[in-house]
Amino acid sequence: MRTAIRTYELSKRYRRVSALTECTVTVPEGRVSALIGPNGAGKTTLLRMLAGLASPTGGTASVLGGTPRQDPAFLAEIGFLAQEIPLYRRFTAEDHIRIGGHMNPRWDASLARTRLAEMRIPLEQRMGTLSGGQLAQVALALTLAKRPRLLLLDEPVAALDPLARRNFLVTLTSAVADAGGDLTVVLSSHLVTDLERVCDHLILLAGSRVQLCGDIDTLLAEHKVLVGPREDTAPIERTHTVVQTVAAARLSTWLVRLDGQVSDPAYQAEDVGFEELVLAYLGAHEASAGKDLTTIGEDS
């Protein structure tokens, strides 16, 4: 299986602030990857570096076999859609379609027109007069008309109502299906349930670092929720990695990354859901970040 994205300790610093720290991820070709993380975790920074719009201050990135760069051949392979849905407000969809035709080698104008017609979005109306959902659909149709091999979508559904969001994701999944494994997608969003529906791969960022990266099925199989006697955590921590501990009156639950089998009959192992897994990692990161803050406070 070929890799669409492979980064090694990719980092980006803006003056003294680190936006992304030693990010090492791999996304195989054909995956739809969910990029999840709190605000400021580095999602946008990662996507822009993969798109060749920003340059890293450390580490390396390989995208579709090459380094992201300002080069027409590379740019032609990437479909990038920024968070703000950047379209010319005074131009119509038809204007954008024609501009795209002049700026891209593999432009599929009829694809864009057909998609927009299916959704009854007027081609001759200015962008400024369309709804947020329609704007997002136009932007996605334009990005797909470029016939990219890698689609990088930065929170495209964040501002949309539930119906518009569903329509957007339907368009996205049908585009992925049409491409038959040739299209890789990285989609960032805060809406975990949406992502669970369309994605089969996960990159989880928090505090500018990668917390988790891999195929969702594999990740879910690797993690279990253990329920057992409260006082005795040592046997678990000896063999497995504890992500999160919830202590109750007599029983405790641990979300653990397995290393081998859970053999101790004192513990009951349960499967983990996608949202549960994501929240456990985000929560664990927040807790450790909080601890760091306290330590700093005590030192000074």
């Binding site: 740019l75 950047p86 379209l87």
Partner: protein, 328 residues
């Protein structure tokens, strides 16, 4: 890529073209009137300049006279309307995220946009200047004032330099500010300030001025549309008295002083300025005139245009560096 520029600017291009057409029509109609008036004056006076000077004014009060101000305003207008938003507005409205996500590098995107807009600005400046220069021909011949501020700045090739510079300044300001409004302020203020500084302090010194000495009893006028800086008399020891003769009295040798009234109350019986001049000449005084000769007109036009074009090139180069280094 060119199509994107055309789509973005076609409405403005149409407006500018229409305005230029109106300006051309008005200038042509007025210009032919001025030309025929001038021709009849030449016939009536058969070329004697004294006679020509006594004719009624050639151009003042005509509509076109007012329109000439356009030559001064247009570059600033282009700088704010075309230059400032070129990169500034795209960064502000984040449409760079659309443009730069196509299969065109940032550098090419910038090169094509900047190239077309500078070309359009140069064409605008050139077209207006061509009309104004043609229209001003008779007036320049009569007034011999082609070097004067207000004449020099709206004729020849300098308006092309102004237009190109103003647009380049707007582009660079928009790229740095990443917003249109501050860029407009910088483009406008910067352009006006530089124009004033260069016209007032730099332009007179493009080449060393020529000083011609002549008999103080005679007179001298630099030929053609020369730019006269100062004229007066200079003594053997280098003491200068400027034309107007306001401070002549204390500077004069005692022998000549008696020929002049010491104050308003005492008038010598036979006061003659010619006698004073003769006396001055016998004491070694000479008349002088310091000026830029008319023959240097195109040298000055070339130097001034060169300055603005070079500054524009530096601003555009800086813009490219900033856009290249910028993380979108």
């Amino acid at each position: 890529m060119t199509w994107l520029v055309w789509r973005q600017y076609r409405a403005q291009a149409a407006t500018v073209f229409a305005l230029l057409a109106v300006f051309a029509a008005v200038t042509l109609v007025g210009g032919f009137k001025v030309a025929s008036h001038w021709h009849s004056m030449l016939v009536a006076c058969s070329g004697h300049s004294a006679c020509l000077q006594q004719q009624p004014p050639l151009v003042s009060g005509t509509v076109v006279d007012a329109l000439l101000v356009l030559g001064l305003i247009v570059p600033a207008g282009l700088g704010t309307l075309w230059g400032a938003p070129l990169v500034g507005h795209e960064l502000e409205s984040r449409t760079t995220d659309f443009a730069w996500a196509q299969s065109v590098t940032r550098m090419r995107w910038l090169a094509v946009k900047v190239g077309w807009l500078l070309l359009a600005a140069a064409a605008c400046g050139g077209a207006i200047s061509a009309l104004v220069t043609w229209w001003s021909g008779p007036n320049n011949a009569l007034q011999a004032n082609a070097f004067l501020p207000g004449q020099f700045d709206i004729q020849g090739i300098v308006p092309v330099g102004y237009a190109v510079f103003a647009v380049a300044l707007g582009i660079a300001a928009g790229t740095v500010a990443r917003r249109t409004l501050p860029a407009i302020a910088v483009a406008l203020g910067g352009f006006v300030a530089l124009r004033l500084v260069i016209a007032d302090f730099l332009r007179p010194h493009y080449t060393a001025a020529v000083t011609t000495y002549y008999n103080v009893t005679g007179s001298f006028t630099p030929p053609g549309s020369a730019w006269l800086f100062s004229q007066g008399a200079v003594s053997r020891t280098g003491q200068v008295v400027l034309a107007g003769w306001g401070d002549l009295y204390p500077a004069l040798p005692a022998a000549c002083r008696t020929l002049l009234p010491a104050s308003a109350g005492q008038t010598p019986k036979s006061f003659s300025m010619n006698a004073v001049f003769s006396c001055m000449q016998s004491h070694g005084w000479r008349g002088f005139a310091t000026y830029q000769p008319a023959s240097r007109y195109w040298t000055f036009q070339g130097i001034e245009t060169g300055i603005y074009v070079l500054l524009a090139a530096a601003l555009i180069a800086a813009t490219f560096v900033i856009v290249r280094r910028r993380d979108a």
